[in-house]
């Protein structure tokens, strides 16, 4: 799309877009292409020689039990984070939308965790779930009789990073849900009320379907968040441990590539992640355009 009336200049438009293009070429496309090349190469540890090995890196990757485990962990982690943060966000937003008088106050009180870095959320929850000093850990031990030990037990460590990641994301979801709820025409709700639908029924049959575009968008954003932006949480809390129980894909790329210096393998992992995020983005744009649209 472009304006009907435009300026004419030979050089100016190129000059204006140049900084953007330079940065994207240098720091996005060139590295991406390099990654693509590295993923089909095997290089010696000193990076002097590399040989072309077709898709060996990828076959090695998908036959590596550690990588397959990491995929499983990531899916579980991502699904848990999305479920926890979306359901709490939606619940609070629905309540806030009912509380007509206090909306602005409630928003202020819920919006700030958005600004907390995932890594700092990790520190807060590391303390709350600390096996010796944490109050939430204490509650878990007392009420559920669990021998809480995230340093040794993988499932406990997983719970820890899910809590830290989901907590931070609640406010993001809340902001979108409250905006989505406010956009639902009041007349529809009123009409349903006159027809005798109870508040719960109204929520299920009117609010929820009308909210589905928001719900879809938020789900996609939560998946992207839990896949890519939770690196800080894992790095602060567990470093992928114990025994790789919290080694999500993004953290594994960092560990294998940057710490372990396995160029080819790490590049192959990067390419897998890249195709994943391309897939999600394409899906998002396809659906946002087409399917999930109810209001004109």
């Amino acid at each position: 799309m472009i304006k009907r009336s435009v300026f004419s200049s030979r050089t100016l438009p190129y000059l204006l877009i140049l900084p953007q293009i330079l940065v994207t070429l240098t720091f996005f496309y060139w590295p991406a292409v390099q990654g693509l090349i590295q993923s089909v190469m095997r290089s010696d540890p000193f990076g002097q020689h590399s040989t072309f090995i077709w898709f060996s890196n990828f076959t090695a990757l998908f036959t590596d039990p550690l990588y397959l485990k990491s995929i499983g962990i990531t899916i579980f982690f991502s699904a848990s984070v999305a479920t926890v943060s979306i359901s709490i966000g939606l619940f609070i937003a629905t309540m806030a939308n009912r509380a007509l008088k206090a909306k602005a106050v409630v928003r202020t009180m819920l919006i700030w965790p958005y600004a907390v870095a995932p890594a700092i959320s990790g520190i807060l929850w590391l303390f709350l779930l600390h096996p010796s000093y944490g109050v939430v850990a204490l509650a878990i031990k007392r009420w559920f009789g669990v021998d809480w030990n995230p340093v040794l037990r993988g499932s406990d460590a997983m719970f820890m990073i899910v809590m830290a990641s989901a907590w931070k994301q609640i406010s993001y979801n809340f902001v979108f849900f409250i905006a989505g709820l406010q956009a639902i025409p009041k007349s529809l709700i009123e009409a349903a009320a006159i027809d005798g639908a109870s508040p719960f029924r109204r929520f299920r049959t009117i609010t929820l379907p009308l909210l589905s575009p928001t719900l879809f968008f938020v789900t996609v954003m939560n998946i992207i968040y839990s896949f890519f932006e939770t690196f800080g949480v894992v790095h602060m809390m567990t470093q992928g441990g114990p025994g790789g129980a919290t080694n999500i894909l993004v953290y594994k790329v960092y560990q294998d590539g940057f710490i372990g210096l396995n160029m080819g393998g790490s590049a192959a992992q990067s390419i897998v992640l890249m195709s994943l995020i391309i897939g999600v983005t394409v899906l998002q744009f396809k659906y946002v355009e087409k399917k999930v649209q109810y209001t004109g």
Binding site: F7, S8, Q20, G35, A115
Partner: protein
């Protein structure tokens, strides 16, 4: 509400308050812990009455965590990223919307596709790039064997060696992050809604493109800029992976990463009060920005397309 449901209304407020408390709990608890001396913070369960050690803990965190330097670095990085992103996106969107040239669509698509290439999926190659920004030129030079060509032309031995590392520098922290698909997209969408007449009138009055940009587009974009300032400042401040990769010099460490050194190790004394005091201090600037500019921030976060 539509009909009167007093019980449901009370329940609503009860749930709402519970929700707010649950969401606020980690931070309230951290604030209390940050005011306690070490004996209290390591008691199980920790007392919930705030102590009087807040300033002491903050001071310890400040010196132990080297927060003075780190906060300054974070501030420079976050502001640099914010300013850079907004500037180059404004200019880019202006170029894409208000000019007609051959590579217009290509330029837009290539900027937009960076959305699919977060740092996380290109860690190593981007690091190599930062280690020597000139490496593409070097690679192409070597591939074309231009050394020998240059030698042949000049008649004596010539080798090209370009080296520009941006590791451990503000340039390195800021520059690779200033390309922004979202900002460019947002400004483009916004510019498209601006009435054609404005541009026509400006042209009729003989305004140059840049005058039009400065005098008309910029003032009109104020709200959008404000929204993006919040979003990008928070984004910049909270960066983790990229600064972790490219900074090794303690003088270049950012605040969020520096906090790692405050977390008590397993066999240390549990100085959680200090760690949490430091965390509170580091999370404060972006929270303040969000709260103070809440109205624009919500608008900017929610409004674009969807």
């Amino acid at each position: 509400m539509v009909e009167k449901t007093p019980i449901l209304d009370i329940l609503t407020y009860v749930f709402l308050i519970t929700g707010i408390i649950i969401v606020g709990f980690p931070i309230i608890y951290a604030i209390i812990a940050a005011t306690l001396p070490i004996e209290d913070v390591s008691r199980v369960p920790m007392p919930l009455i705030p102590g009087d050690q807040f300033w002491v803990n903050i001071q310890t965190a400040w010196t132990e965590g080297n927060l003075g330097t780190n906060l300054m670095n974070s501030f420079i990085m976050a502001s640099g990223i914010t300013l850079g992103k907004i500037t180059i996106s404004l200019l880019g969107a202006f170029s894409i919307v208000y000019f007609d040239y051959r590579f217009r669509t290509l330029a837009f698509v290539s900027v937009f596709c960076t959305l699919m290439l977060p740092v996380e999926v290109r860690i190593l190659p981007t690091y190599e790039m930062a280690a020597n920004v000139m490496s593409p030129i070097m690679k192409i030079w070597t591939a074309l064997n231009l050394d020998s060509v240059a030698t042949w032309i000049a008649g004596h031995e010539i080798t090209l060696a370009l080296d520009w590392s941006i590791l451990d520098s503000y340039t390195g922290l800021i520059l690779p992050l200033v390309a922004s698909a979202t900002c460019t997209f947002l400004f483009r969408q916004f510019f498209l809604t601006i009435p054609e007449e404005l541009c026509e009138a400006a042209k009729m009055d003989g305004a140059s493109p840049m005058t039009f940009f400065r005098k008309i587009l910029l003032p009109l974009s104020k709200t959008n800029i404000a929204a993006l300032v919040v979003i990008e400042f928070v984004y910049g401040w909270n960066q983790y992976l990229w600064p972790l990769l490219i900074t090794t010099n303690p003088k270049m460490m950012t605040a969020v990463i520096g906090l790692q050194h405050l977390i008590p190790a397993a066999d240390d004394l549990p100085y959680w009060n200090v760690a949490l005091a430091g965390s509170l201090l580091v999370m404060l600037p972006p929270i303040l920005v969000v709260l103070l500019m809440q109205r624009w921030f919500v608008k900017g976060l929610v409004d674009p397309d969807k």
